[in-house]
């Protein structure tokens, strides 16, 4: 059942539509790639410029979070249709993990 393959023949209009959609996607990927490089540059510059670690560490963590989201949405297609459940599970998993680790770290080492 899960392995059934059905072959579809696409009409011309469908073909055009897909082509347009793909090029839009490509553009998205390129922009987010550029943004990611830029974020990485910021991180390196900050360290090279020798700011205080108390400033650098939180900012780098923040940048990392942004990177993860970009990565998930633009490269791993989380924004595409039919990924709602996946996204739901990932975010609830992250939420649970976040609270658990936060509580664990505070009670053990604080």
């Amino acid at each position: 059942m899960a392995h059934d393959t059905t072959e579809k023949i696409r009409s011309h209009a469908e073909h055009e539509f897909l082509k347009k959609k793909r090029s839009a996607e490509m553009r998205h990927q390129l922009t987010s790639f550029a943004i990611m490089i830029f974020l990485t540059l910021i991180a390196f510059t900050m360290v090279a410029a020798g700011f205080s670690t108390y400033l650098i560490v939180p900012i780098i963590l923040l940048l990392a979070a942004v990177q993860v989201v970009l990565q998930l949405y633009h490269f791993m297609h989380l924004s595409n249709k039919g990924h709602g459940t996946v996204a739901f599970f990932m975010f609830s998993g992250m939420f649970v993990a976040f609270i658990t680790i936060l509580a664990l770290v505070t009670i053990v080492w604080w």
């Binding site: 059942m1 899960a2 392995h3 059934d4 459940t85 599970f89 609830s92 998993g93 649970v96 993990a97 609270i99 658990t100 509580a103 664990l104 505070t106 009670i107 053990v108």
Partner: protein
């Protein structure tokens, strides 16, 4: 390859079960091996109760007693309760959502064999120099000091069987998300499917912390690491946290499917739609979520400080709210229903007061100051047996009666079932009710004997007699199974007469492809709706009759798991100077596992098709071929 073959010899049947990827046969494998471990754990329980029967008894030595309580807890939780619930999930959930199998049949079989070899490995410790003896919680300071290889059997065995459980959980999640029949929206899923879903999500999130903890434990003990060794800068409390971050969700992994089974039973035997279906679903989700926020209530006395204790005490008490919602929904389902007191229904009715008692003591323990008194006393033992036996085990016994006809095509005797019930139920309360008072009188748990001057003699004697009652109940049940199988009176699709969900619309046992045509679901309690509208076939169909694609069986899951089993022995003896061959065994074992993975990835296995003609033929013969090849 013809799929609808005829009767074969004994060897062929065995081979069929070793290679099967059919969820219904894997369910039977889980049922048999879970049942076996339940008997082993039960035997250990009887030995504990014999030892504690009278003051100063010397039936067991102190060391042996520690091994037996450890193995009793570990076996019951990981090797009996979980697999027995997985048996029902496998047998019923795909049928309830109108699917032909789970999403990954191969992984389903792999999950079973990993659990099986993990369990065997753990129990081999009895014959190979001593079982683990640091309690099922295996606290690190105790475990690291334990001599011999008992603890290593524990950590390696649970790692292997834990992988199996994790695989099963992921498989069920994907199945429920992707393989529901047309029309089966989330809010039309039967409650057992819902609880399977949430319990699987809990497995997915809760088992990784345990795996990490066990890995650390293995490395500390076998490869010279120091994660939990305080003198070397480690932290022994971290084990407790990791264990309970897993451990509390684990109790809900056990009890949610039990709730699911009882929800089905209440609706079927009250002949009513579940009262507050939506509330039951949301209560299930809420319990699943809160289950992760309360783990430190097992550690109030560790010294986490008043703030942490207060936060976790409050969080724990909140869980009682969704649980209460469920209890009231069940009561209102029975209310005004047309009730028939069959064996499953009797179990379900008995479950309510038993489980509520366990919930109430839970809330008492959640008050941190009071828990300083109760902790590590027999009160705790009474609490968790009320929830686990009064909730989970009663559900397993009820589910066995309820689903036996669907799994095997015969009905267990109601009369013997009632005898089992009364022995078990009375025995259960005799054994554990009195333990609350033993706890309040100061009797500590996990201590192998007590003195005659402590005034605990009578209560312990009563408790031991109760255990005997439970044992008699279980034996009667075994007799029941044997008699039923020997008589072999076959039953039809809906043997209880009041089935509401899709599994009762198809033959018992179902044909190996489950549904010749995928059903169309028109509401909650699909089969009931069709029955009420006078539909003789019990289903409407979502597709015309056509070829059905099925997966091939495979022996690879068994070999893969066997490789892990071999490798575990290598790891176990790795540091022993007298056993230089350990490294070789480790490498050979991993070689077997990775080799069979490689074979699996390189060899295409596209399954086979049952043709339309074969399906029509099969329907004429009653439509319950089991697909032996």
């Amino acid at each position: 390859m013809s799929s609808l073959a005829q009767k074969k010899g004994f060897g062929a049947v065995i081979w069929d079960y070793l290679t099967t990827v059919d969820h219904k046969k894997i369910a039977i494998l889980y049922l048999i091996s879970g049942g076996f471990f339940f008997l082993v754990g039960g035997l250990e329980a009887m030995m504990i109760r014999i030892q504690l029967m009278k003051a100063g008894n010397d039936f067991l030595s102190a060391g042996l007693y520690n091994e037996i309580i450890t193995m009793h807890g570990t076996t019951m939780i990981f090797l009996a309760a979980m697999p027995l619930l997985l048996a029902f999930m496998n047998a019923v959930m795909p049928l309830q959502i109108g699917a032909r199998d789970v999403a990954f049949p191969f992984l389903n079989s792999l999950g079973f064999w990993l659990f099986f070899f993990g369990g065997i490995f753990l129990n081999l410790s009895w014959f190979m120099g001593g079982a683990p003896d640091a309690g099922w919680t295996n606290y690190a300071s105790l475990a690291l000091a334990s001599e011999g290889h008992g603890i290593d059997f524990y950590s390696l065995g649970l790692t292997i069987s834990g992988f199996g459980t994790l695989i099963a959980g992921i498989n069920f999640l994907v199945t429920i998300i992707n393989m529901r029949a047309p029309g089966m929206t989330y809010m039309r899923m039967p409650l057992f499917t819902w609880t399977t879903f949430v319990a699987s999500a809990l497995i997915l999130l809760a088992f990784p912390p345990l795996t990490i903890g066990l890995f650390f434990m293995v490395f500390d003990r076998l490869f010279g690491a120091n994660f939990f060794v305080v003198e070397m800068g480690g932290n022994t409390i971290i084990w407790e946290h990791l264990f309970w971050i897993f451990g509390h969700p684990e109790v809900y992994i056990l009890v949610l499917p039990a709730f699911g089974i009882f929800s089905e039973i209440f609706a079927i035997f009250s002949r009513k739609r579940l009262f507050g279906y939506t509330a039951l679903v949301f209560a299930t989700i809420l319990i699943g979520f809160y289950g992760f926020m309360v783990w430190a209530h097992h550690m109030f006395t560790v010294g986490l400080g008043p703030t942490a204790n207060a936060v976790f005490a409050l969080a724990t008490m909140i869980i009682a709210v969704p649980t209460g919602i469920k209890i009231f929904s069940w009561l209102l389902t029975i209310w005004g229903g047309s009730i028939s007191f069959t064996v499953p229904m009797v179990y379900a009715v008995a479950f309510i007061p038993s489980f509520v008692a366990g919930g109430v003591t839970g809330v008492m323990q959640a008050m941190a100051p009071l828990d300083y008194q109760l902790h590590d006393s027999y009160f705790i033992v009474a609490h968790f047996h009320y929830v686990i036996v009064g909730g989970v085990v009663l559900a397993i016994l009820a589910g066995t009666h309820l689903y036996w006809p669907k799994m095997f095509g015969t009905m267990l005797s109601e009369k013997l079932g009632m005898i089992t019930f009364w022995f078990f139920f009375i025995g259960f309360h005799l054994t554990f009710f009195i333990q609350h008072f033993l706890g309040l009188l100061g009797m500590p748990r996990r201590v192998y004997t007590f003195g005659a001057d402590q005034g605990w003699d009578l209560f312990n004697m009563i408790s031991s007699v109760g255990a005997l009652f439970m044992a008699i109940g279980v034996l009667v049940m075994l007799v029941n199974v044997v008699l039923t199988t020997v008589k072999n009176v076959r039953v039809g699709n809906d043997p209880w007469g009041d089935g509401r969900t899709l599994e009762w619309a198809i033959p018992s046992p179902p044909p190996f492809y489950n549904f010749a045509q995928t059903p169309l679901v028109r509401g909650l309690d699909t089969y009931w709706i069709e029955k009420m509208e006078g539909n003789k076939e019990g289903m409407v169909y979502a597709e015309p009759l056509g070829d059905v694609h099925m997966p091939n069986g495979s022996i690879i899951p068994l070999i893969m798991s066997f490789g892990m089993f071999v490798a575990a022995f290598g790891a176990l003896y790795f540091l022993d100077d007298s056993k230089p061959w350990a490294l070789a065994v480790l490498i050979i074992g991993l070689g077997i596992t990775f080799g069979s993975m490689l074979v699996r990835s390189l060899k295409d296995d596209l399954g086979f098709h049952i043709t339309k003609e074969e399906l029509i033929e099969d329907a004429k013969r009653g439509g319950n071929t089991d697909g032996l090849k």
